[in-house]
Amino acid sequence: MAKVEKRRALSQERLREFLREMLLIRRFEEKVEERFRAGELPGFLHVAIGQEAVAVGVCQALEDGDVFASTHRAHGHTLARGTHPNAVMAELYGKLEGCSHGYGGSMHLYDVERGNLGANAVVAGGLPAIVGAGLAFKLRDEPRVAVAFFGDGATNTGTFHESLNLAQLWKTKSLFVCENNHWAESTPGWQHSPVWDDMSKRALAYDMAAVKVDGQDVEEVFEVTREALERVRSGEGPVFLDVETFRMEGHYIGDAQIYRSKEDRAEAAAHDPIAALRERLDLADEEWEALDGEVRGVVEASVEFAKAGTDPQPEDALKNVYA
């Protein structure tokens, strides 16, 4: 496992951009919770509150042409990659203007133009395709990288192990980002994995380069991802990032978390990546209020956009089954 020195190279301006992105995701997901509880959103929703630095740090390091596969907890990755909040919110409302045109929903957000090959509702389901996309980039000698987001729970699936083995064997242009929040739904890491506190050991079994990352520090996530992408892009082989993070809320919206202690929730809350970045930037209250107000306005507008969107016709369900 590579040792990570704390990197402090980014400008204040860049970090402020990161803060805005993270705050946008936070306010967006808070709004999603509110609108779901108000009964406006159908389906099954999962928020990644507490994990915003992972989405922003990784996605800010990507380049045009890079692709990624996400998970059921996908709002952050999608927004961080530049899909407009209007398109994401419209998808959650099931509108044709949504980023999956109403066919996907929260667990199946796509935006192929921006490299989003889909949020996947099967744990580890997106990993093999990231191996294959990375293989295609290698075969075509393209300087592109395919990135898989997944949680610690995914590391116990056969799909995960087959994918890492194949990626390393063929040196595909793939980056594996394990968002290790130490929860697989309601099951804590120590109950589901013998290496729950250091997932990078999983990669070592396949001789894959692995780095442990503080997922609450957006600058560290960004810098480590940028270095990893350089290595992958150059054809040296895939990299595994064990990104330690905290899920500040339940598995899904409405999860009473009866399985989780108050202490554990308090610990997660104490690791809020947005609060940490705000403190680091030493933002004056009025600056913070201005930023927050701007972001809340964007989110509010996305709800208005979504509500005014076009409902699909029922028979549209029969389109897009085949190319």
Binding site: G104, A129, G132, L135, A136, N320, A323
Partner: protein, 327 residues
Amino acid sequence: MPELTYRAAVRQALADAMRADGDVFVMGEDIAEMGGSMGVTQGLLDEFGPERVRNTPISEMAIVGAAIGAAMQGMRPVVEIMYEDFLTLSLEQIVNQAAKHRYMSGGQLKVPLTIRTQGGAGWSPGAQHAQQLEAWLVHVPGLKVVFASSPNDVRGLLWSSIYDDNPVIFFEHRLLYPIKEEAPAELEPVPIGKARVVREGGDVTVIATGPLVHRSLKAAERAEADGISVEVVDPRTLQPLDVDTLVESVKKTNRAVVAHEAVTRMGFGAEVTAVLQEQAFDWLDAPIERVGAKFAPLAFAPAMEQFVVPQPDDVLAAIRRTVEREQ
């Protein structure tokens, strides 16, 4: 015309597609130096090299999933799954991913992937090397399913499958690899979704797939001796199904038998039977007969295996039941 085996026909379609298009590549277990456990891909490594003829680990899930990922980037991978029994190991990727990316993305993606696999009883491998599982796949919207019974069909349909923009599950049959027929030197694409009338007749239509096409032709010859004229129709593509050709034939003969090697119960034949009674009920002079494997796993002992798997005599008996039925 020169003769072509079913095995060589598959190989030719692969080679032709790889010569024509640099985005076509093949991968699977033991397909490179060994040429596949059925010898289908022999020689491809020499011509196309290890980048395009890829030996894989025993990882059906990752092989299929990686092919999905390459296909979504515009390549046209062809995966070989050694036995269709092992297709079960990759079903998550086939059913939840390949079949649904286009749909879930609202039409943003396409998955031009071909998965070749083979199965079939008659050589006593036991219960895990000879199942016929096509009914599992035809049930999934978003997949196309092909099952060719002749060298010309397998060659032309594989070409069409590779160039189709959807995931195609391409079933081959182990016992068909050595069969031969005359074939033009140049590959002639066969469209997906078109049935073929293999033998014309007037008294009863047998709709058969894979090896049952050949067993039905034998049954038809025997029936002919008894004065029964049998038409044999091979759907060739199970999904999409060429309903018009099947219905047209049954409207002509007024009787139908549906025959496949897979287990009869809940099989592909049940769907064909349902479609025929919906669209040709008033033309039918007898209940539609189904022929398929009995409801048991495949046994090892040859006598038991042969009993479970449908034989020409089973088709003949079904033909007779339809024509001998009292009006």
